[in-house]
Symmetry: C2
DNA sequence: ACCGTAGGAGAACGCTCGTTCTCACGTCAA
DNA sequence: TTGACGTGAGAACGAGCGTTCTCCTACGGT
């Protein structure tokens, strides 16, 4: 197995375990067991657990925002695109392994202790907010709408995570629709 | 020192440490050091750490909702009361030791592993949502407003926690004002 | 065939931490 | 005074886990 595939398999295992069970409760040995990558190799690829955590969050960030953008950009109408964000959230919340927002959860777990993790969470949220801002601008709507839309989305993520229901996405979408209607 | 005061001091220390640094990174010995309550006594009062965690969350829940209600009920006008929730959030976010919502953080840390903690988080959020519902009903507004207001508040809490800024409260309040204006 | 190197399995090390135990002290009832 | 008891300080125990080390195997180049 070459380094690139070992790295991918390690990250696959890390993502499913860290996201599903939390970061602190998953040991490097669990990653080894789930990935088939030996401890020696793991430590060659990621000199410490924290770097594996960072790589996990980074790869997930790229994929998460990519999936969202791909979904949203299927819509041609600029205002529909904004609402499509909430449709996508609803799909995501309904996935079998959904356990809330990985960054919000990681922040709760490590935000107070790891400045690097906290920084990645802030960067991810900033990027998501800027993406929303670009959709708002693309629809010719006032930038002041971005904040409320972002808060609705964050509220939906955290609530869906805690309750395990996809319903907050629909509530947030309807609220967003009202806000868009006000102008 | 009698049992009641020992218990209070233990909970005071637990609250400031758990909330400030996260639950898993605070040891029972840290609680002992900060509270002056010996380990023996701590284990008499709380037979295991998890029960101290539960007692911390429970006492904080009562106090948090009490402080909110006390603030909100200073307003006579029923619609003002709804907006006062967001004013109170802004005050809370501005406190020096503010580190986000204790329940959201705890859920990120332990929600996947401790069903009891997860249950307390759900109960707290349900109670907060029901309080909002009572304010909405008191203002004679449609119950469908409760969900959006709740999501705005949750989004503000999580965003304020991550960014360390009180601004999300103002954004949420303005969005709430728009939603109330729509009817 | 031989050697050097990389890699795997898993033991070992060191630290943290939840929990319990030891021991010495002070208190209070008889 | 004495002895049973509760308590505090802190050592001790045992488990978990991040990280490193040992030892053995396999393979690639000469």
């Amino acid at each position: 197995m070459d380094s690139a595939t070992a790295r991918e398999q390690a990250l696959d295992a890390a993502e499913s375990l860290f996201y599903g069970r939390g970061i602190q409760s998953v040991g490097m040995d669990d990653i080894r067991g789930a990935s088939g990558v030996s401890l020696k190799r793991l430590y060659q690829l990621f000199p410490a657990k924290e770097q594996l955590v960072e790589a996990y969050l980074e790869r997930r960030d790229v994929r998460w925002r990519g999936r969202l953008a791909e979904y949203v950009e299927r819509q041609a109408d600029p205002e529909r695109r904004i609402l499509a964000v909430f449709d996508w959230l609803e799909e995501w919340f309904g996935e079998a392994d959904f356990r809330g927002c990985a960054w919000i959860n990681s922040y709760g777990e490590l935000g107070a202790r790891s400045e690097r993790v906290a920084g990645q969470v802030r960067a991810h949220k900033r990027a998501f907010r800027e993406y929303l801002a670009s959709l708002v601008a693309g629809a010719g709507l006032p930038d002041a709408l971005t904040g409320p839309l972002f808060l609705l989305a964050e509220g939906a993520m955290v609530t869906a995570g805690i309750t395990g229901s996809a319903r907050p996405a629909a509530e947030a979408r309807e609220a967003a629709r009202s806000l868009l209607a006000v102008r």
